[in-house]
Symmetry: C2
């Protein structure tokens, strides 16, 4: 995993003012800088400001001539728009940022939050499932959500129609968080407008996207990692095989979260995903008691990661950057490969590998996937 | 387990003629001799004839004055009745007796078989479930049964209404075995008369009860151990909590068989038993492929038992039989206790313990339960 190789050399001081927020926001809004690259650059340069300053040179070294980081003006405009929408900016490592989410590899560097931020300090469980849920599925979502709410658990979901909406609605009196795929001020789907407004009052809405972002297909899987990352566990209430909810369940597994599923009859296609999860080891859930029992059995929050090994001894730069880039590309194809594996195969110093990888990424010659995987775009 | 302590001192020669069958049948039909006592007596006396001859003295030593073993006439009458019904007697340890069933602790000493006996050499899977099954459950039973049949598996069930009947019917063309609770010539329930007749032609009916026996409540759990004992695994297709199918599943676990269950939605009460089994570790089954996969994963038949330890060295009879009986009774209450535990607690020679236990059993002062458990009747 990445943290083993690129753990922060200096503690990351939480920003508190807009002047502190600006470099963080500019860095993550810069072209080809995703959450993983963001954390890597912070690790390499010690601060967002330093990483931002180094970015044009990193790009130049990677052969991208016309690279410009996100301008300050754009970041200031984003902050203004978010505040106009009534939202607050939460910075990774800063106050108010949810603790469990901060631990995941590709934690969002920034979050826009609208509503009751204190919900982020509560124990959370995600309820997810089909948009075209059956009435049995909707009733199950409601029942689970009420039961968890009564037990003091905050219910996290994605504000989609179907299971998500039923889970949020039932948990409005006790506490619920919606993670949006688009901007904090962009309600999707429109039919959930009233629910979204209630969520902003008694619940909380969260997103990593800038205000005004219209949600696109690629935003949803990224959003799902936040749903599971916030939560101690994910319950899939009703899901067909090959559904988005299964992606959330896989994220949850990658993140060390408890994966749970409500079974259904095998002849009911809408149970296919849940039954497959249970066969693969997910906990079978019949009601909120089963969810609470699974969490108690785990003894509270997700397991702490193993302590990172001591930082690799900086080795003499025996490997030329260009050679290494070529060697990395040689090892990669269109199917995602574990970064760790590539390092081991090449047997090169981690620091050199890290720099070459960042260059390739900025250059757009590799793609980064969740779970420490990288690939070469077609 | 019993086999550890009372393994056969001499190999048990399979009987082949009625004259050989008679002592076996008389021994198991004698009052208060159940399958476990039968195997123990054979172990102690070397043959059914010797055990039968010793039985009055064993009873007398236990203080039962008027004990008479099953008369020869009664056994001859049973053989006559069974043959008149077209059935054949299979003797434990003899030819034709199903191999997997022979391995269980309380294997039936005799079985009456009516139909295609060669089915007993096929790999078998039990399909069991609710009598008042839903139409979804019945369709599932049919589909599983057909799928297993196509794969060459013989489907075992209990000839009850609901899931059992659906499983048998679908497997008639490929091979199916019904284990009856009553006599081979007593069809229960009556509505399954036509099915029972077909089973006797293209399938097989089996029972340990003498011909003419009307099934009573206590026969059904005993019958269930034969269903699971014959089979490499048991699939519970639809079952509420606290149903007879769950007893079969527990038997199957005790016998080292694979336990599998078809899930259902938690709001459907008829899925309660199956979902509970899956939570407890049963394999979730969506179709016959899942059953076949589970069996392949196990690599064929149930695990062989560990080799029995060397027979205990005959210790001097330091313990008086009367004293020991009193000590055994002291340790027992109405809830079943493991026989092994009582031996360990009393720290007495196994041979002496075994004799005292047999005496108490014949005397009716203890009751024997499946799984090596004993209790004191209220």
């Amino acid at each position: 995993m990445e943290t083993d190789l690129f753990s922060y050399p200096t503690p990351f001081t939480p920003p508190t003012t807009e002047e502190d927020e600006l470099p963080v926001l500019r860095l993550i809004r810069s072209r080809r800088v995703g959450p993983t690259t963001f954390h890597r650059l912070i690790g390499e340069h010690g601060s967002a400001a330093a990483a931002l300053a180094a970015l044009p040179e990193v790009a130049r070294a990677a052969g991208v001539a016309d690279y410009t980081p996100c301008p300050e003006k754009q970041a200031r405009a984003e902050i203004k728009a978010g505040k106009a929408a009534g939202a607050q900016l939460l910075i990774h490592g800063g106050p108010g940022y949810p603790a469990a989410l901060a631990e995941i590899d590709d934690a969002p560097p920034v979050l826009w939050a609208l509503g009751q931020q204190e919900l982020l300090t509560r124990p959370m469980i995600a309820l997810v499932g089909a948009r075209n849920a059956s009435s049995l599925g909707l009733r199950m979502a409601k029942r689970l959500s009420e039961g968890l709410g009564e037990a003091g658990i905050c219910v996290v979901s994605g504000l989609a129609r179907g299971i998500d909406a039923a889970a949020h609605e039932a948990a409005l009196p006790t506490g619920t968080i919606a993670v949006q795929a688009g901007g904090i001020d962009v309600i999707y789907p429109q039919e959930n407008t009233a629910l979204a407004q209630q969520m902003a009052e008694t619940g909380l809405r969260l997103t990593e996207a800038p205000p005004g972002t219209q949600p696109q297909a690629r935003h949803f899987p990224a959003r799902n990692r936040i749903i599971s990352g916030l939560s101690a566990g994910v319950v899939v209430v009703e899901a067909a095989l090959k559904s988005g909810s299964l992606i959330t369940a896989r994220d949850a597994l990658d993140q060390g979260r408890e994966v749970m599923a409500v079974p259904g009859h095998p002849m009911d296609g809408r149970a296919g995903g849940c039954n497959a999860l249970i066969r693969d080891g997910a906990t079978l859930v019949r009601g909120s008691e089963d969810v609470l029992a699974a969490l108690n059995a785990r003894a509270a929050p997700p397991e702490p990661r193993p302590a990172p090994p001591p930082p690799p001894t900086p080795a003499p730069r025996a490997v030329k950057s260009g050679d290494l880039s070529a060697k990395i590309l040689e090892r990669l194809g269109p199917s995602p490969t574990a970064e760790d594996q590539v390092i081991r195969d090449l047997d090169v110093p981690a620091a050199a590998f890290s720099q070459a990888l960042t260059a390739l990424e900025i250059e757009g010659r590799i793609e980064r996937h969740r779970g420490g995987l990288i690939s070469r775009p077609l």
